[in-house]
Symmetry: D2
Subunit: 334 residues, 4 copies
């Protein structure tokens, strides 16, 4: 931490700050400047709470240098994490593709889509059975019945199942039927849910919240990891900005930025932020070009009616997209 | 819903949209314009899913006219809701003041602060016992032990207790000890938690999420109300913007904006978005001047050390603030 | 500046950073921590360009401590600036009220509004004659003819004239007819225009850009002041956020925040960000309650047709608002 | 335009809205719904000002259907615009690459970088000589002397010159020496400057403002085009969001979104929003993968000292990036 004094801070103000630093058991480094003095702090193991200093007399600001997270960092584990699920993996050389309908609606619809996904060579199937839909009157998913359909998909098509949980009860059910637990953007800071997922044997995919900073996202991962579950996958899906032409703005720079500090695998969901069918494939290409470990995308049969979202790809669009993103991935990671 | 056609849409494209509208059981109103045709839809009872039209040939966009919420609106209940708790109320003529420390740390600290709050004439005491702290290693609150301290505060100082819940288990505990259930900003879209609070006999205070639109905030309230609990209080606490000098930006225009469509009482938390002690009182004055039903603010003993946040007011600052905001409230609502 | 090294930085990386600091003529303070080393820099007079360090081997980040502005700061001038215009002033004890129509349309309309403003006791009249309207086909203002009307308003009603400039040519004209030069939000970083205004004898009112940080806003003021014109007034008018129910979000915390570092007077325009008539008065009350030096607000005759914006107040609404904000101002600054 | 009435609007309120529509010379289409009535308006040629209706009694909101821009749209000109400069072009099948240093510092530095650019096969050279630097004390560029160096670059290396203008005076100079006029993000709504560029014979490259919506960006292009200059290139460079780890967030979805409504060529500047060297190449790849007409990127000699920004690529990094983005471009547009 660096405590920056005001220009009119007195030597007594400075002494007082030094005294508090010393009392906390740390070491103070006074650095006088031409207009103002800064005081560096060393000797701390964890991030220091800036509140110790911010309201002290003569203090202009307290700047945090250390980050509050540890387990997610390359400092702790310099080699990249590879999450393995059966024969498949996320974080390895190959591009993982996670595709499927927004929601599991019927066995027929789900199998039809699963066949498309399998034929594309993708190894992961997604489909919501607990839907955290914003209007309470909207279809909330098939629940356990949907999980049974997903388990059949795994058996029949050899696909690994990724599905979202919304509370502790649903984690228990998903553990019985699926392969990867997904924490949605709306629950990224539902710490009880994160802790519960941390006690699971399944890998956990954490979507970035719509208003979450990198620090908050990595700390969500720490909540899972601190319980002993190190198989965490981070998924960018767009952030809230002033943009008025789509749902959210995909923040692709976050991929190399998080990669430079964390060992966790990074994927992008190019469907939800897009919010419009014609934006999904260009954003999928861009996501793969920026250098991700996996791509999540929504695909559905055009005949499906209940929850078919405007951002779902048709099977034809999906097959075309897969061939484009695979080619780009091979180009970057030959 | 209004479906706007592209300039080059053919009459066949238009007929196709009309056919879909008719099939859905609604009525189509074709309105040809100089460059493009718009098609109004009437006859629907609920909001129509725009996905029916957005990917159709020749369609430029589908504009939603109806709102997806009902129970929260003045359309359904034109008179303002007053939430009553014992002798106190929120939404009535008087300004409700909800104050207390960020976290309940010890019985002594809590009682000392409670005495200040009682002496100010405020009728509500706040204090966290389940703290959804972003770093998992940070102090997470005293839990049930903290609730027991809060129950003593109620008895000894005659204050009504407002405290945050983080999962279904904590709702059960809070119901036993406190008076108002608080849903924090991070859990505003934790729909399982909202439903559980909706089955409680206690009023529910819902903080606006850092990235939540008005629609999403009101829909969170609908999740509670649809379960039968109509005693909901909405609390603005700041939204995520590009601002780099404080935590979040307090969105005060949201108060008259929500008031114009909803009957629910509105309060502002002027502490959390501020994130700095010296910003809290000016923002509290501004919040009351904009016309709110209640003010939530953090107050603590300066000697407290564990979780004392930079935004907490000292008792002296709090007493001064109360006298200022009361005077402003009387000025506006004489 | 503080250079934070990566956890795996070698002692050679650290030496190299120290060497560059020394070469630049500054002093390096090496502070080893438990996981990473930080290096403080002193001896610089101006802000150091972080690019010297950010791409060096082993460097995690370079944190700027000094601010890039000077003339606007309390460090340089601890007493508050009062801008005087004839008998009136901005930054003094009284609340300055600047009101008038969005655009000067006709002599009759302008005089009718001016009479309302004068009767309210306000001392400043605003009215656009060079309108930077976003669609190029929209009415762009009366130009010099409008300035002549404004000059008549000054003479007839004793009001000081505030009007916007859009290029160097318009500055020359405004200097001939008006009392305060207004730089609009869209031109806040038009540095040629700021420099030209800095060579004027008239005070300059600078609206904050819709995406401008505090640093950028104060640096815009520095552009004016560096040319010798110290009569600068800062005007907050709302920033771009994800809000979808009004134009922009008024950032009221910026008032105490800028006050804590700058001596310049601060006012708020409560009309433009509001973007809706019914939001203007509540936001005006909030602005005054937060503690500003002046309020800018749009007022027009309801019969006016050409540019009457949805956010303009009617004369009756304006008179009511003035009485409310004056009472709040007296309450806070008795 | 669609005027949506409140649920409690009377038939008299509705008649009054119809009356105003008729008076304005348009046609009203009353569409009664289950809870509220909507009134469509047809017969208008231009966008209608919503202020005619928004403050009328019983009106909930006025929703704009028509867009305020015309010249930029595919409605007016269905075929894509190709901007030709000498032998080179932007908007054609090939990917245009515009590269060079942030600022022209010396003849030696500029020539050294130009040689790298030429060797890469790129056809456009960029370099600032009028630098709108935020701190007024920062280096503001070499001015006409810099333009003379750029003119030599064109002659010697056969590169087309793109350089930024900041006021009318600089447009005159740039017209004499360069090939494409660049309007920077900070001047995107400097309408006097846009009009002046519209009267030039040179193509105009318009960077999107940091807080600009698509509508505002296209309207900036209309300002240029309405003066008769149809050679306009749009350049996305990142928008202001809550992101705290880089300068701005690159909004890549804007590329397919604008393409779906406008015929103008679209390029991306992957350097400025990135703000850090290691983010530039991944974002350049993503930009090309999303499907752009050209890429702007900053390249400089590592020995350069004056203005070398943290986001500039070294010549080696640039050559590597060019080979990657060319391969991606060929993959998408074979």
């Amino acid at each position: 931490m660096l405590v920056v004094m005001k220009a009119d801070a007195t030597s007594r103000d400075i002494e007082e700050v030094v005294r508090v630093i010393t009392e906390l058991g740390f070491k103070a480094h006074v650095m006088p400047g031409p207009t103002r003095t800064a005081i560096g702090i060393t000797g701390n193991r964890d991030a220091i709470d800036s509140s110790h200093f911010e309201n002290m007399h003569g203090v202009a600001e307290a700047i945090r240098v250390s980050k509050p997270y540890k387990l997610t960092t390359l400092d702790l584990k310099p080699e990249k994490t590879v999450v393995r699920v059966g024969d498949a993996s996320i974080g390895d050389h190959d591009l993982a593709i996670i595709a499927g309908p927004c929601a599991v609606e019927t066995r027929e619809q789900t199998f039809a889509v699963a066949e498309v996904i399998r034929n594309s060579g993708a190894q992961f199937f997604r489909g919501g059975v607990f839907k955290p839909r914003t209007p309470p009157t909207a279809f909330q998913g098939l629940g356990e019945e949907g999980l049974q359909i997903l388990a059949e998909v795994r058996e029949r098509y050899g696909l690994n199942i990724v599905t979202e949980v919304v509370d502790e009860h649903s984690v228990g059910l998903v553990e019985r039927y699926a392969d990867i637990i997904q924490i949605g953007a709306r629950n990224m800071q539902n710490f009880s849910l994160l802790r519960r997922a941390g006690r699971s044997r399944l890998p956990v995919l954490i979507k970035r919240g719509l208003g979450a900073t990198i620090d908050e996202w990595l700390l969500a991962a720490e909540y899972v990891m601190i319980e002993g579950n190190y198989n965490v996958i981070l998924c960018e899906r767009g952030v809230r900005t002033f943009s008025d032409y789509n749902n959210e703005t995909l923040d692709l720079a976050v991929v190399p930025a998080v990669r430079s500090i964390s060992h966790l695998p990074l994927i992008v969901d190019s469907s939800h932020g897009a919010g419009k069918n014609y934006l999904v494939t260009p954003l999928a290409r861009a996501s793969v070009a920026v250098g991700i470990d996996g791509l999540m995308v929504e695909v559905n049969e055009p005949t499906s009616t209940r929850l078919n979202n405007v951002q779902e790809l048709t099977p034809d669009q999906f097959m075309q997209m897969v061939s484009e993103v695979r080619a780009i991935h091979e180009l970057i990671f030959p």
